[in-house]
Symmetry: C5
Subunit: 95 residues, 5 copies
Amino acid sequence: MQLAKVVGTVVATRKESSLDGLKFLVVHPLDETGKPTGGQVVAADAVGVGPDEVVLIAAGSSARQTEATNNRPVDAVIMAIVDAWDVGDRTQYKK
Amino acid sequence: MQLAKVVGTVVATRKESSLDGLKFLVVHPLDETGKPTGGQVVAADAVGVGPDEVVLIAAGSSARQTEATNNRPVDAVIMAIVDAWDVGDRTQYKK
Amino acid sequence: MQLAKVVGTVVATRKESSLDGLKFLVVHPLDETGKPTGGQVVAADAVGVGPDEVVLIAAGSSARQTEATNNRPVDAVIMAIVDAWDVGDRTQYKK
Amino acid sequence: MQLAKVVGTVVATRKESSLDGLKFLVVHPLDETGKPTGGQVVAADAVGVGPDEVVLIAAGSSARQTEATNNRPVDAVIMAIVDAWDVGDRTQYKK
Amino acid sequence: MQLAKVVGTVVATRKESSLDGLKFLVVHPLDETGKPTGGQVVAADAVGVGPDEVVLIAAGSSARQTEATNNRPVDAVIMAIVDAWDVGDRTQYKK
């Protein structure tokens, strides 16, 4: 999984019908210092997150293993909201 | 998923027979400023898009979770046409 | 999928038995100008291609969705031979 | 699989319910000299590891092939703790 | 698939139980000139290879499509030993 920050939203009305009701969010993966790294990813929201939250995203077929995304053409999902992220003795992030 | 722009087409008559009738489009993923990033991808069209449209693509096994691509050897699919894409308070793209 | 050019062959007699009879080709993905990009890939041939042809390759589990590769340990397949590839108004390649 | 070192932890209380009880660890892949390479990954722990241990991680759908992760939205798993890692005649790591 | 050279071994006694008996080898992918490229990968051995051999590796879910790796948390497998590898008219490698 990747640690990521929720940075935006995508709205699409014309789409594969199985995607109706699913919320698409723009997230940016974070590096070990908490800075955005690599490119943005659009992920389905399986847990109900708000803007700027730090989350975990799962990619690939594993992104379909939630109630919201099962059997849908979705390759990235937000499946957890991060409360705390520690590296060694240092607290990297705390909600 | 990735945000991408439709930039071209690929025609192939000799192919695995299950691919008959499927439309292959060349798309270019977009970065957070809306500029093309990384390399081109060829994606199957599951929603009926036109040239230059901004779309969402799903990759991997998830690309087979549409009616058009089910059980076919396809690893990228256009499964939504983007109406609006917002990052923070900024509208990055509006159709 | 990726556009790629067939550049070579790999012969392997000692292998997982389910691979008997399958042809392995070395292909090189192409960028938007038709030049080789990234590294070489070895792909199974599901359509019967010749040297130097421009093809489409599918990767991951989708590479197993052809009659030739079904249930086999193959993560890349040539599933179509490209007749024409257009980007905008320009013909990038024509067989 | 990738060789990786356990460097941290992630705690998340709000998540897909199937993830309850699963431990998420921050790991850093190692290069051939044993130095961290590329970016951090968050992996589920299927074997019970401690901080700073050298482990093997499996990614993608294979990350769901353990008792702890079966059918869960998890795309990386620690499935082994490394005792010894040899490259040619050299012992790269010994627990 | 990727062409790769076997460069080392990994021993792990504490692991997911389904992995018992499986041999883990360190391999290094090769570029089109036969030089190591990118980072090392740990792959399960499905065919019985020796040190320094040139092999084919399959990744992702396809790595589980061998008798040795079926249903196991393994994301890379050596599924063939290369006898000959030709690029155009040139023999890149011959066992």
